[in-house]
């Protein structure tokens, strides 16, 4: 019998390569996923990145230290304030600058508000990816109020250039404290509403519980950080473990996943950590607003000439999406000799293949949403 006749009528499933992106709506930007599928089951995922590469690091070697700040805005563009903050702290540590109290408090206030805004975006986008269209309109509505506060403070809505080396670009405008308190009062009620419409919605829970479980050892070996790591039950928050700025003065708890529904470390846990972190951020902002010193010049500590001494520094801090690190080598000139950015979402995305294998293509969307990637930071 010939070979063709022997195989007659035998259906054989073969692996198929599927390209998801770069224009796929659930890839949160321009990311291409090369998925090898066996039927509907994913057997391998390869993220192809670089579509948003803008030579951030090389560019920084050609501009002065303060001029780098607007570019750090554009890395993780959903958390520009935090990027500014980490970069400014890195250079300040290199130059040994003491900051006025008021500056530290304002920085914490804006950084935590930005954390809320970033998490709101993550929650809304994840809900949208899984088919819930309402949550994103609600999270955008509340994010808009934070952006309005920022616009009122520094004149920009997305790319602030607010936190400078040794200070801030503007002092807080009058009535900021009142507006911020009003927002927090309003926002605390909204978190309850998110819980009702999304977090404990049965359909949402069924799509995310048990899906894409990230074991602790895998998370640590891949260098995951932020809500992705804490979702697996690791209590690692740089604001607690290596307190920087003035985070040790406030009362709050790091949000750690508990595996409330499903297995510990699943998509739902990573989602829930963000919701809980918003609550903790509200607590921090409330305390910071109450303790905010009345007096203090935000420009007082800004050096006239920013020429860090020869040397190098690595400084990391907790961004909404994980540990953000800046490694700066200074040769004593006003331009950084080398600037390396350790981006959290790059490491968080690298774990995708590990946790999405064995799940269906529709679950990849949920897993990607729970990783909360920003391509601006991954590609830089």
């Amino acid at each position: 019998m010939s070979e063709a006749l022997k195989n007659f009528g035998v259906v054989k499933a073969e692996e198929m390569v599927l390209n998801m992106g770069p224009q796929h709506p659930s890839t949160h930007g321009v990311l291409r996923l090369r998925i090898r599928t066996d039927g509907e089951i994913v057997s391998h995922i390869e993220p192809h990145i670089g579509y948003l590469h803008r030579c951030f690091e090389k560019h920084c070697e050609n501009v002065t230290y303060p001029q780098v700040i607007p570019y750090t805005d554009r890395c993780d563009y959903l958390a520009s304030m935090n990027n500014n903050h980490v970069y400014a702290m890195a250079v300040e540590k290199l130059m040994d600058i003491e900051l006025p109290e008021r500056v530290e408090y304002i920085r914490v206030i804006v950084a935590e508000l930005q954390r809320i805004a970033s998490h709101l975006m993550a929650l809304g986008a994840m809900g949208l990816d899984l088919g819930g269209v309402t949550p994103i309109t609600w999270t955008f509505r509340d994010r808009e109020r934070i952006l309005d506060l920022f616009e009122y403070t520094c004149g920009a809505r997305l790319l602030y250039n607010y936190i400078w080396i040794g200070g801030l670009s503007h002092d807080l405008p009058p009535k900021f404290v009142q507006y911020a308190n009003e927002f927090l009062d309003y926002f605390e009620k909204q978190i309850v509403e998110y819980d009702r419409i999304l977090t404990y919605n049965k359909i949402f829970v069924e799509r995310t519980a048990d899906v894409g479980v990230l074991p602790v050892d895998v998370a640590i070996s891949y260098g995951c950080s932020g809500p992705v790591l804490r979702g697996s039950g690791v209590n690692w928050d740089l604001r607690k473990n290596e307190p920087y700025s003035i985070y040790d003065r406030f009362e709050w708890e790091a949000a750690v996943g508990k595996g409330e529904v499903g297995t510990l470390g699943d998509c739902w846990d990573r989602y829930w950590v963000r919701v809980e972190e918003m609550r903790q951020s509200v607590r921090i902002v409330r305390q910071a607003l109450a303790q905010l010193p009345k007096e203090g010049d935000v420009h007082a500590a800004i050096p006239k000439k920013i020429r860090p001494p020869k040397g190098e520094i690595y400084f990391r801090a907790e961004n909404p999406k994980g540990d953000l690190g800046f490694y700066i080598i200074s040769d004593g000139s006003p331009v950084p000799y080398r600037l390396k950015m350790r981006s959290s979402t790059f490491c968080n995305l690298s774990v995708l293949n590990e946790i999405a294998r064995g799940w269906m293509i529709s679950d990849v969307v949920a897993i990607l949403g729970s990783l909360d990637i920003v391509l601006g930071e991954i590609d830089r």
Binding site: G155, N161, K202, V205
Partner: protein
Amino acid sequence: MAVVVKTYEPKFWDRFYLPAILKGLAITLTRIFVRKDTILYPEHKHVPAPGYRGLHRLNKHADGRIKCVACEMCATACPSNCITIEPSAAPWDDGEERYPIKFEINLLRCIYCGFCELACPKDAIELTEVYDFANYTRDSLVIDMDGLLEVYEVTSQGSIYTRQNAGQPVKVAQQL
């Protein structure tokens, strides 16, 4: 292969999904009675807070003379090199000795960081609240000195968006 464990098991009634959908609808329906947060954009414009960093303008003295002295501090401070200035000796005898004969800003390169405004020793360059200056060609988004001075004329008489919302036809984009 990744860990695929099932510990979450939905109850029999949850399998219908109807209660979950109805519950969600009930929550969204309550929103009908809340004041809406959106504005109807082209008819009603968002008025930015003072200090908003939008389109640039070049300020003038009370006598109509340009404030800029072409010191090129803004061009030096600019992280994206979007400002081009050509200085020249001023035609007037009193006052500043230099003034720009060419002052060009490439709005597509500009990142609206506001460093030019801060670097300026004469308060000549300023960022205004204008945000809707999209256009069709790249050439039209390179704004020259006349354009910048015209933006000053339009924006120096109070917020243009408040006036537009009040029904006055104020346009900035046309001279770009």
